[in-house]
């Protein structure tokens, strides 16, 4: 099948159309003219339907074709292209606006996406930094605690030793004092002199017994 509308350019189409109109008209007019002559010959009355009065046909058809052709030419050449041009330019304009809006929307979306990405990045960075510093602080604390523990344990040990020494010294002294008091008391009460060293041993043994009881 042939490509249809491409066959006849628009202008030629219009001219062709007008020529065809004129041809049909003249043919019809000729026919109607014959008919008119006949009807006029047969009966000249006009009492019936005016629509069936063939004598008026040529003039009606003639003026129909004249006005129709003028209208067609005017519309096809001038009015319709103008209106379609306006409609097209409006459609283009609207499409343009829509395209621009679409482009702007895409740009805004891109910006939004970039912003989101930056925000996400900042957030992850911040959390990394937080974790890092937290770890560092924890590490330092444990290190410092370790040092502190070590030092304090040494110091505690020394202090304990000192206390132990002091305690044993004090105990020594106290047992000496106790022995002296005991011997003196024995001298005064019973009147016997006692060996202080013996008293000391007694007290020590007593102390030992006490400890065992405890």
């Amino acid at each position: 099948m042939r490509e249809l509308s491409a066959d006849i350019p628009k202008k030629i189409f219009h001219s062709l159309f007008c020529v065809a109109l004129v041809f049909i008209t003249s043919a019809t007019l000729a026919l109607a003219g014959d008919q008119t002559a006949e009807t006029a010959a047969h009966h000249g009355d006009t009492d019936g339907l005016p629509q069936l009065d063939f004598s008026s046909y040529p003039s009606q058809i003639f003026w129909l074709i004249v006005t129709f052709t003028v209208l067609y030419t005017f519309f096809a050449r001038k009015t319709l292209p103008e209106i379609s041009g306006v409609l097209e330019s409006r459609r283009d304009h609207i499409q343009n606006d829509l395209d621009t809006a679409e482009k702007l929307r895409e740009e805004a979306e891109d910006a939004h996406r970039a912003y989101d990405e930056a925000l996400e990045k900042a957030r992850s960075e911040a959390s990394n930094m937080f974790i890092e510093s937290d770890n560092k602080i924890k590490e330092e604390t444990t290190k410092k605690l370790q040092v502190f523990y070590e030092r304090s344990s040494v110091e505690i040990k020394a202090a304990e030793e000192k206390i132990e020494n002091a305690k044993s010294e004090a105990f020594e002294e106290m047992s000496t004092i106790a022995a002296e008091i005991a011997s003196q008391a024995a001298e005064k009460i019973i009147g016997i002199s006692t060996d202080i060293n013996q008293a000391k041993t007694v007290i020590k043994s007593l102390h030992k017994n006490n400890k065992k009881a405890a």
Binding site: M1, P50, S56, P58, S59, L64, L71, T79, V86
Partner: protein, 248 residues
């Protein structure tokens, strides 16, 4: 009381003849010219503004354009663009005839068989001419519907032929009969009112009813005027579709 047929009488305004053919400028021709001038004026004014945001006139013109363009696009398809100016002119010409005819004392040129018949013949010959121009002899396969069984052909082909050749007849008679009948009814009902009024005071009161009915009828006729123009144009589209698509 005036004869309801009298309103269709063709009266020569300017006698004019070519040989023995009478081509007088008649009341029919006068209203054709009035319709053409009015429509050209209106559409030129509508097309003149060309503004992006249309005014009233422009939007009316553009709506008219869109209606006919949609009609052509929906019924013929994209290839029907070449027929668009013709369909548009046809629609405007008939619409003008129908609507202007509703003005009292005007003349309805579309109520004449000569006019509607000529328009229908133009459509018919366009279908014939462009059908053969585009498809050659294949155009006659239009009368042989595809898919029908062979033994039905002797019945279908004559039927298709008759339905094809009867098209200009139905097309023209539909329009002319509609317009003529409408105008006759308007005239007859109006005649009732005049007849009632001529009886006396009581009759005049009675005559209000036909007047009220006539108002309703006139509104109805406005509708018919537009619808018939639309129907004529849309059927022309349907017929012209055969020239671009043989089988559908």
């Amino acid at each position: 009381m005036a004869n309801p047929i009298h309103q269709f009488a063709i009266e020569p305004k300017i006698p004019f003849a070519l040989g023995n053919i009478d081509l007088s400028f008649t009341n029919s021709a006068l209203w054709m010219v009035i319709g053409a001038v009015l429509s050209i004026t209106f559409l030129s004014m509508a097309a003149k503004q060309k503004s992006l945001v249309p005014g009233r006139m422009q939007i009316a013109g553009e709506m008219l354009y869109e209606v006919v363009a949609g009609m052509v696009r929906n019924n013929i398809g994209i290839k029907g663009r070449q027929y668009f100016p013709f369909i548009f002119t046809l629609f405007i010409f008939i619409l003008m005839g129908n609507v202007l005819g509703l003005i009292p004392y005007s003349f309805t040129y579309t109520s004449h068989l000569a006019v509607t018949g000529m328009l229908a013949l133009i459509v018919f010959f366009m279908v014939f001419f462009f059908g053969i121009f585009y498809h050659g002899l294949k155009f006659f396969s239009l009368f042989v519907p595809s898919g029908a069984p062979l033994w039905l052909m002797p019945f279908i082909i004559p039927l298709e032929l008759i339905s094809f050749f009867v098209r200009p007849l139905t097309l023209s008679i539909r329009l002319f009969a509609n317009m003529m009948a409408g105008h006759i009814i308007l005239k007859v009902v109006a005649g009732f009112a005049v007849a009632a009024a001529s009886i006396g005071a009581g009759g005049a009161l009675l005559g209000i009813f036909p007047v009220v009915i006539n108002i309703a009828l006139l509104v109805f006729e406005c509708l018919v005027a537009v619808v018939q123009a639309y129907v004529f144009a849309i059927l022309s589209c349907v017929y012209l579709k055969d020239t671009v698509d043989l089988h559908h």
